[in-house]
Amino acid sequence: MTYIVKPRLRHPALPVNKLGFTHRDYEGTVSTLCAGCGHDSISAAIIQACFELAIEPHRVAKLSGIGCSSKTPTYFLGQSHGFNSVHGRMPSVLTGANLANKDLIYLGVSGDGDSASIGLGQFVHCIRRGVNMVYITENNGVYGLTKGQFSATADKGSKSKGGASNMDTALDLASMALMVGASFVGRSFSGDKEQMVPLIMAAMRHPGPAFIDIVSPCVAFNNHAGSTKAYDFVRAHNEAVNSLDIMEPRNPITVEYAPGTTEEVALHDGSTLRLAKLDASYDPHDRIMAMAYLQAKAAKGEFVTGLIYMDRQAGDLHANLGTVDAPLNSLSEKELCPGAKALDGFNTSHR
């Protein structure tokens, strides 16, 4: 952490997006996390993604629980709505907010403790209900705020800073998300912004439950030899299945790939997601195969990153419930209490 406020001065020739903002306009207050924390890089990637998508900050609601990861929403999007909930309860607060006002972009930020331990039930139910959101876990495998005990995502056999081995089986949040119906699943690494930024952008454009598991080394308690979530280990075992580009209609395509190795997916805002296949056999639209692939690679000690799964026909909770087009919080008493006559008609229809 730092004790001084980040200077207001900025580079005079920073690019601006179509709203006239620079990426600095999407910052929050200065981070109080440990120096070198991977979470700060994820915050920077979120800032960059929102800048590039030219998102109006007041259209975003960022929600979190408890933990190092859940502190981070303070450090980005200082002009957005924020809610810091009880430990592990962010998903239900997010679900409620989304039901009330479906017009906002919901960004849930959580960690391996908040989502894989105390909040595991909330995590799976929020996804299986199909809430339209971006759910990011900043996954470092340890409880950093309580000095580095193994979390539920720590790999079996990995070692703590003090030398103890973890004997419990790890939860794989990406696999769980696939299993319970996430229509967009990505995995990334905090040390790789080139991968993180387009993945977050694509997730924000996805009209359903989008989950991204980001391995984020804890420099204080989990960045040593024997850890499977250290910078060096992740760099050595990271296998990206594809690389992503988000192309705005106004930006021409500049990088050329060999035919057959790329796939373009139209996103619902008019932009295009281009996927360059790094593993030609991998199909990110086949959920069953994706689950098997993750398990097969994990068994070999490899760590799959990139866009793991995307359902091109995704829907969301509001579609499932058949709610009206207008956000519920915009409905007035007139629409909500249509009167005795309407009630009678409704009751009659059930007799």
Binding site: T2, K6, P7, L9, R10, L14, S31, S41, S190
Partner: protein, 600 residues
């Protein structure tokens, strides 16, 4: 690009833009921090060792440091970028110091038997005297005037430089006991050489004001004055009046001094007329501002054609209107605008159209070469002429410059004279004294204030104009008070506190990239400089500013830092989990004679 070699003192020196731009390489941020800490005497001494005349320069310097100041680039987003008021902070140190006499060197206890003559007692010669006297040299100081100081005394008006300030700083050098031969003009270098000096230094300035030979010059001579001669006459009290309507011809700092002095000696309507455009005038912008503030209009694109006179008395000047035209190479020429001439009535004219060197007293057959412009051939590194015993410095060396250049020349000439007298090669220059030391005090604590001030540049308060225009000796600028001085000092970015990168420690976590407020840092594949500059986190705006390149890191990438807009806030080092970044103070003292090196 190859990895940057930070062991080359020039690399970090260049990052300290102000110090690099200063001809005497004064460690500017070092003394500004001292001012912020209230250590005025220490700040004064840092200056004194480097530039010899802190009080004088703090009022009169041409400030090459300020256009170079990084603050003027990083504030560009605010629309009105302004450098730190370095010059006026120097004055704060001089105005608020305690007695520094005890910290000054003492006259040499024993003489080394070598005798050096200095011609002219201006800033260049006084610098040579200061650098040589403590070493035991016998220094003989000649000047045609009866007091030492040279142009600082004769040409700079007292309302810009009070006599007491000048006397104090000249006296620090005279206290080292040179032999004074004031009022003694040298009329023959051959004659002086025959007096068997071990070395002679020519620091006589550029003493001749350029003439303006147009019709009417002779007839109206009584009311047409050469600017620098007139200023000198005012300075010595021989002139105390001028006509009500005055025209000053010329656009340099001398012209500004002439017009402002005229306003104080009875000139009610004073006009400055320049041939060129307003923007191209040689005068410093702040001097022009001060003149206009005193109600002096500046007319441009007017070429004087004739002095008009009636019965031997000047009545006005006729000007031709011109305009600027540029050829394909961008060279400017002034061509007639095709409009009728204008006539400006006046009582007196001051001609300040430039200064020239004149060496009628140097015989051309004594082995001292002159070039085709009739200037002595001088080596810019050693200041030695083609006569091995004769050295030049200040305006005498390469034509009119300013005081800080004279000081820089003086230091270099003193080194050469010392080398010569010790029988060594004058071309073997001593290296600068350099020190690089970590400023880390605690986990996020630095021994300098890294919290950047967002304040805009402070204005130096002036004495009321009703008073200053009545008294030619009343100083116009009051100087910063201590509160303003502190606030202005806090604007300094501490560019001498370098961001030093230790590549083997880096784990490429991106923490420095994310926190850097100026987007200076990039981790990328290595490439040629031109390509690298295309791929930085933020556009490279000034290719003359270096890129700091690390050796290859673990992933094969490199760290590239654009030094251009770094705030030296130290956030990269605070965020670095492994200490790969450190903030280290780079202190460079430019080479001087052995005396000054030991004490600088």
């Amino acid at each position: 690009m190859a990895a940057t070699d930070v062991r080359n003192p020039d690399y970090f020196h260049k990052v300290v833009d102000c110090q690099w731009a200063c001809p005497a390489h004064t460690p500017v941020p070092e003394y500004i921090r001292m001012i912020a800490a209230g250590r005025y005497s220490d700040a004064y001494m840092v200056n004194w060792h480097s530039n010899v005349f802190p009080g004088i320069l703090g009022r009169t310097c041409d400030r090459p440091c300020e256009p170079a100041c990084r603050r003027g680039r990083v504030e560009e987003v605010t629309g009105a970028p302004q450098p730190v008021a370095i010059c006026r902070l120097k004055r704060v140190a001089a105005d608020n110091k305690d007695g520094v006499k005890a910290r000054m060197p003492s006259p040499a206890a024993t003489m080394n038997g070598k005798r050096v003559a200095l011609i002219g007692a201006g800033p260049a010669s006084l610098t040579v005297a200061r650098d040589l006297l403590p070493l035991g040299y016998t220094v003989v100081l000649y000047d045609g005037d009866t007091s030492a100081g040279g142009m600082m005394r004769t040409q700079i008006p007292k309302f810009r430089l009070p006599e007491s300030v000048l006397d104090e700083e000249v006296d620090y050098i005279l206290d080292l006991q040179p032999e004074l031969r004031l009022g003694q003009k040298i009329n023959s270098l051959r004659g002086l050489l025959s007096e068997n000096y071990d070395a002679i230094f020519v620091g006589c300035g550029a003493p001749r004001g350029r003439e303006l030979e147009i019709p009417g010059r002779k007839e109206a001579a009584a009311n047409i004055h050469i600017g620098i001669d007139w200023l000198s006459s005012v300075s010595f009290g021989h002139t105390s009046k001028i006509g009500k309507r005055v025209i000053v011809l010329g656009g340099g700092n001398t012209a500004m001094d002439c017009c402002r002095t005229s306003r104080r000696l009875g000139g009610e309507k004073v006009d400055v007329v320049v041939r060129s455009g307003f923007e191209e005038m040689k005068a410093s912008p702040w001097e022009k501002e001060d003149a206009m503030h005193e109600g002096i209009p500046i007319h441009n694109f007017l070429v004087p054609k004739e002095f008009l006179h009636e019965q031997g008395k000047l009545i006005g000047v006729r000007f031709e209107k011109v305009k600027a035209e540029y050829d394909a190479k961008g060279r400017r020429s002034l061509v007639p605008a095709g409009e009728p001439d204008t006539v400006m009535p006046c009582d007196d004219v001051l001609v300040a159209v430039g200064q020239e060197n004149a060496f009628p007293w140097i015989e051309r057959d004594i082995g001292l070469g002159f070039d085709k412009w009739d200037m002595p051939v001088v080596d810019p590194a050693t200041m030695q002429s083609t006569h091995p015993k004769v050295f030049f410095g200040g305006d005498a060396a390469f034509g009119p410059k300013n005081i800080i250049w004279a000081v820089a020349h003086g230091h270099d000439a003193a080194i050469s004279i010392d080398l010569l007298c010790r029988g060594e090669d004058v071309n073997r220059r001593p290296p600068p004294m350099v020190n690089l030391s970590s400023q880390k005090m605690g986990i996020h604590e630095w021994s300098y204030d890294n919290d950047i001030s967002n304040d805009a540049r402070y204005k130096v308060p002036h004495a009321p104009i009703e008073q200053t225009l009545k008294n030619v000796r009343l100083e116009v600028e009051l100087g910063f008070d201590l509160k303003q001085a502190f606030a202005e000092a806090q604007r300094c970015l501490n560019c001498d506190i370098q961001t030093v990168f230790d590549a083997p420690k880096c784990i490429e976590c991106d923490a420095c990239v994310d926190i850097c407020p100026m987007d200076c840092i990039t981790f990328t594949a290595n490439d040629a400089e031109e390509e690298l500059r295309e791929h930085l986190s933020a556009p490279s705006l000034h290719p003359d500013q270096d890129l700091y390149i690390s050796p290859a890191l673990k992933t094969g990438r490199i760290m590239a830092k654009d030094e251009d807009l770094c705030l030296h806030c130290g956030l990269c080092a605070e965020r670095c989990p492994t200490g790969a970044w450190d903030m280290q103070k780079f202190l460079l003292n430019a080479p001087k004679t052995e005396y000054a090196c030991r004490h600088g």
